[in-house]
Symmetry: C2
Subunit: 199 residues, 2 copies
């Protein structure tokens, strides 16, 4: 069975960089945006729209009661959410089948549970996440307060999507094998250390 490492991460925690560096050190495949690109291709939705769907809780439709008949509303947004998740599941399973790999986000820990992945969750305090965002984008000129609001909003969306489709709680240590706090941490060094754990 291929070795799979899944990485859930808070926005700005460096989880994506950690995954990329780990994949370089270990010489295994790395999937991040590739998942979205592939979903976009298969569902014929734009990448941006797929990303938007994956960053929020699906809008639920309830049956509408008309007289004595029940009519299930065909809420198009909900349909699209389901389509994205279904496509996501298919793609992740294909990727896991192909070779050893590292997958960032996308509920991979849950979708690939039967393949017993090493499930990482990467987090950090809000100050260091703001600092990391500024480092990555020197032209970022919003205030700390505005950035914090944005970061927490993104996390809320990720959590909502994850919780909805997995029935688990995003970021709860029970759902991961290793939770790593990257506050005041050099991702480069951390990747070296963690790679030792996975050899």
């Amino acid at each position: 069975m291929n070795r799979i490492i899944t990485i859930g991460r808070e926005f700005g925690s460096g989880g994506r960089e950690l995954g990329r560096r780990l994949s370089e050190i270990m010489g295994i495949a790395y999937y991040d945006r590739e998942v979205i690109m592939e979903i976009s291709k298969r569902t014929e939705m734009s990448e941006q729209y797929v990303r938007q769907i994956m960053n929020q809780r699906p809008v639920i439709s309830y049956p509408i009661h008309i007289g004595r008949h029940f009519v299930t509303s065909t809420n198009p947004v909900l349909q699209q959410s389901l389509e994205v998740f279904s496509s996501q599941r298919e793609i992740l399973r294909e990727m896991a089948e192909k070779s050893d790999c590292i997958i960032i986000g996308r509920c991979a820990d849950y979708i690939l549970a039967d393949r017993e992945p090493a499930r990482l969750f990467v987090y950090a305090d809000i100050k260091s996440r703001i600092a990391r965002c500024r480092e990555k984008d020197p032209e970022e000129n919003r205030t700390d307060a505005a950035l914090e609001k944005e970061i927490l909003k993104i996390d809320k969306g990720r959590a909502a999507y994850y919780n909805h489709f997995t029935g688990l709680e995003w970021g709860n240590p029970r759902n991961y094998d290793l939770c790593v706090n990257t506050t005041n941490c050099e991702i480069k060094n951390l990747a070296q250390c963690l790679a030792g754990m996975f050899y």
Copy 2:
């Protein structure tokens, strides 16, 4: 500054074994029961009593209102809790001063915060914790349900003591650098892997 590793752990998660093995591999001091023994010596309370105090939330005393006078009750159990914690702080600081070391529990992550310890938290699902308890004590003949109840009670006590004196939440990833799930995990192998992270 000496290198300090603190290990908080759920009962039955193998955190103590992990600490002992890490200390052997890294060749550094290991403190577990030693802390209790030393507190017992300095406070002249029995080891068992010290342990009991450290496994529960201190009983708070409120001022008693008599007529127009306020009289602060001198609750002896609360006094003893405070004495134990004060002694605990003193001892841990001495240990951290002496050499590199690994300290199990005892709010060491909080007490030694200014020494920037690597703060581990070790946890596991309840089934594997029950199995680990049976493995350690083959004469353990309580039912799974009874063992589970006991394990959760011990954790509740540890959490209450920790939360009371630190003002933080025991087991919350925000308060640790690394949280390790030992479910289905060989502690021996895990110790080897983690040691690589601390060299």
